[in-house]
Amino acid sequence: MAESIVKFLETWSPIDIVLIAQNFDRFLWGALTTLELTIISLLVGGILSIPLAIIRAGNNKILNAPVWLFTYVFRGTPLLVQTYLIYYGLGQFEWIRETFLWGPVLSQAWYCALIAFSLNTAAYTAELLRGSIVNTSRGEIEAAKACGFSRAMRMRRIVLPSAFRRALPAYSNEVIFMLHGSVVASTITIQDLLGVGRWLNGRYYLAYEGFITAAVLYFIIVLLVSRGFRLWEKHWLAHLYPQDAVKTKPKKGLASFRI
């Protein structure tokens, strides 16, 4: 039975499904590399972005200018060029090649991709968070002031928890954007999901198989991520949604008065 299926696929399928199945474990490893790169850069970038966002939302002009420049440059240029600049560019400088960081970190494609991705997502996330910090309702801050909260305490207890929640829908876009952006890793020799697809096509001289498999796996990952975020939003933003219509439905006799 299994043999005849394989035989059927080998003769009739327009793409070589058997070959994909044989190399599927490599694709899974590639997917793992993609996820690893994405998740670690999101974590590092996310942690970096919090102080940056607070600075951008504040009034300190001396601190604000460099942070603005950082976010402007990283948001205004392609991730591919940023990654090339770090991976290929840093080697130009003698003094960088002589530091202790060169061997274990800066000459490694994986770390270079990680640095570029983290800085990139930090810039986008900082601007996104800044928006939601600035939009915190005035009343909440006034109430905190009236209770005698210091500025740091207001930020920690009032502004940030609510800003994080309100930034969640936009942040889910950033996560997917980063996942899409992580394909850049395959251009600097990293065997991520797309890297494996390119390897397969190069090795067996194929046109579709590797890319289609990578495309399908990326699609599945994006689908799962956006589903996950939707559930997360339901949980963390429940207080901002309109009340459930069924629960607050007025009694029949009163309905006509409630226009």
Partner: protein, 232 residues
């Protein structure tokens, strides 16, 4: 700096390729976006389903994967169709065509959502009024929907464009001689990759800065007489 001046011809011709690529694919994106928005809002269930699948795929799969698939797979497909039908012997898809087509289709998906939202923002009564006045569907689109849609779509459109112009860098991976590719080649032959990649970075920054201010100006111009709430 002297080195960059020495290679300025390559960088400038690359920049020109990038600009052409970005603008042409924008044209395609707007075209696909309009068709997609029309399909999503139409009563035809098949059209709705196709449009939904289109936006889902385009937003789910990274653009570089699609560019590679179109460039290498499309070539193979064109050749097998050629041999199957006997119409042509050998077809070649250029890097530029693959780039324009793919980026156009991908951002058409993003434009679909932008345009759909913009059309939905137009009060339904106006379209009904158009129908009541005996306007044809094309006249309603031209006179009622389009002028207002442009205004509502502009913020989303600006965002898409700024992302799109950066996406064009990916086409260098399939060997299109755009600004990234030319900068990379120049940097490698002079062993000054940082200098050249930094120059490329600055070129992109100028391109996005110009588009940003241009779009802001357009937004100001078109949103005269429209009240926007601040917390949008």
């Amino acid at each position: 700096m002297d080195l960059i001046l020495e290679y300025q011809d390559q960088l400038l011709s690359g920049t020109w390729v990038t600009i052409k690529l970005a603008l042409l694919s924008l044209l395609f994106a707007v075209f696909f976006g309009l068709i997609g928005a029309w399909a999503k809002l139409s009563k035809n269930i098949v059209a709705q389903k196709i449009a939904a699948a289109y936006t889902a795929i385009v937003r789910g799969v990274p653009d570089l994967v699609l560019i590679l698939l179109v460039f290498f797979g499309g070539q193979e497909l064109a050749n097998s169709i050629g041999t199957l039908t006997g119409l042509w012997e050998y077809a070649e898809i250029s890097q530029f065509a693959a780039g324009v087509g793919t980026i156009g289709v991908v951002f058409g998906g993003y434009m679909t959502e932008t345009f759909r939202g913009a059309i939905l923002a137009i009060p339904k009564g106006q379209i009904e009024a158009g129908v009541a006045c005996g306007m044809s569907r094309i006249t309603i689109f031209r006179r009622v929907i389009w002028p207002q849609m442009v205004v509502y779509a502009l913020p989303g459109f600006s965002n898409n464009w700024l992302v799109q112009i950066k996406s064009t860098a990916l086409v260098s991976v399939i060997g299109l001689q755009d600004v990234v590719y030319n900068g990379f080649v120049a940097g490698r032959s002079t062993r000054q990759l940082f200098t050249f990649m930094f120059a490329v970075l600055m070129i992109y920054l100028v391109l996005t800065a110009i588009s940003d201010s241009g779009l802001r100006w357009l937004d100001k111009k078109y949103s005269k007489g429209i009240v926007r709430s601040d917390d949008g």
